[in-house]
Symmetry: C2
Subunit: 306 residues, 2 copies
């Protein structure tokens, strides 16, 4: 643990920790085959959607969904539609967050952001369309008991709405985290944590899992979301532009409250270590027999350099 | 018919034709009681969402949903969650369409548009949040057989995605209607028609309706969508600013291809009359015994002045 922690922010850390690449491949193959436009006139919109969707990345959210399926004894391929929907939604949020009126970022994963490449109008609509197609995909393609599927998709909507991802983005944009008693942890619980949690929880809602197990998984995913954000804030300060695929220090330039700006780098690193420990402990309670894929993901989120 | 047609664009036409106000009241009461933010930090986001959602209007889409329920012998209150979800989605699309990067409109229903009132960042997020909450609402609150509900919500997603509302908006924004063989009718089928159609079709999907009846209703809703758009284009030229709640002639200023710019005012009026006739005929086939609410709505869409 200490070794990993010391390497945090260095590319070596990423290599030292494994990642369920077989699950990422499943996700990547599925995403690359997705087409959206039956209408010839909308081909350009599809192009913009796929430009952002296929920009690579570790696919942490959909891989979490597939790993969760495996952990509870299901074939991960059975939840690919759901997992892909989560990634579509994540991509939608990145496109809108990058817009000039919001974070005004020109680069994402080393390439021009959607609005730099296609114009602001198309970027707004590509985000909207990814959100719509995420729901269409999971509702039309995800197999499972209808009542369970309804619950899973409702959780996905809830996790990404006012009391989830978009609400968190609003709190961030209006810089309310330091005010109104919201706090950093709550901000990130909404902005990042709930979609990460939904990637796990929706798979469990689709399956036959005891309420107590669901609660243990929620403790794990909640902590994983916190860990993800602390490391994100650290990397914004310590990472290189090449690793991040965007200019380092953008949080600072935007004057954002982050774990580093609030607690300092050293304390933030200690908080990441604590959070990682708590996430692993919660996972051990959720899956007493061990969950290699999910453990790897938790370790990766802690040790990643981008 | 001829009388109504002659009055098209005059406020008197609206008064002369009835409207199912009892259904509109049900919708209005339901919408006004909707709350979205459990998170105190997101209260301002909810405020922006409700500002646009509660700006009035005829509520044609949700009223169509309720009228459809009545027509097939159901209590309209049973589909209020679905109907409201359709109106949330419509509101989301208006907010994003008005953005500076898209139509750049300052006024909507006589009031400042969302971005003029709350800023562009909040307007983008308010739109996103309305879309999320629409799905949450219908998935959590709409009663019905789970498999049927899944189908209805999938139709809602499909009708508003790449091959529906957002795709139509893309074609409009990129001015592709005159190119690539898309055509005006196809553009509006996507941009406006599919959501109007979904308001009707989703209620039928939720209910036990024969496939042949569904097809007849689709013919009606498809024609109603065309009628709606032709009249919209005529009103943009003949309406007054006060009636429209925004400056007249905005299509022309944006250099948009419309029924009026393509066919001239006189021919567009004749097309509206034809379309209205076809809509009423399709409705008569769908409901041989008569459907007073839906007939009123079709007449209103034809005769409206705003």
């Amino acid at each position: 643990m200490a070794t990993t922690h010391a390497r945090l922010g260095a590319a070596a850390g990423e290599d030292a920790v494994g990642y369920p690449e077989h699950l990422r491949s499943l996700v990547e193959d599925y995403l690359i085959n997705l087409r959206f436009a039956c209408e010839p006139g909308a081909a350009g919109l599809e192009e913009a959607m796929r430009y952002s969707l296929l920009a690579g990345g570790k696919r942490i959210r959909p891989v979490l969904a597939l790993a969760t399926a495996r952990t509870i004894g299901r074939d991960p391929r059975e939840v690919l539609a759901l997992a892909a929907a989560v990634e579509l939604i994540h991509t939608f949020s990145l496109i809108h967050d990058d817009l000039p009126a919001i974070d005004d970022d020109d680069l994402r994963r080393g390439r021009p952001t959607s609005h730099k490449r296609f114009g602001e109008d198309v970027a707004i609509l590509a985000g909207d369309a990814l959100y719509a197609e995420a729901f269409r995909l999971v509702l039309r393609e995800q197999r499972g008991d209808p009542a369970r599927l309804l619950e899973a998709v409702a959780e996905l909507a809830d996790a990404t709405g006012v009391n989830g991802m978009v609400g968190g983005e609003y709190i961030d944009v209006r810089d309310l985290a330091g005010k109104q008693g919201v706090g950093l942890r709550r901000l990130h619980r909404l902005k990042t944590g709930r979609l990460i949690g939904a990637a796990i929880e929706c798979v469990l809602l689709l399956s036959d899992v005891a309420a107590s197990t669901l609660a243990e998984f929620r403790a794990f995913s909640g902590e994983l979301g916190v860990l993800f954000q602390i490391v994100d804030d650290i990397l914004d300060v310590t990472g290189t532009d090449a690793e991040l695929g965007k200019p380092r220090g953008s949080d600072e330039r935007h004057g954002k409250l982050t774990y580093v700006s609030q607690y300092g780098l050293q304390r933030a690193r200690a908080m990441a270590a604590d959070s990682h420990g708590r996430a692993r402990a919660a996972l051990a309670r959720a899956v007493p027999g061990g969950a290699p894929d999910l453990e790897q993901i938790a370790d990766f989120v802690y040790a990643r350099s981008s």
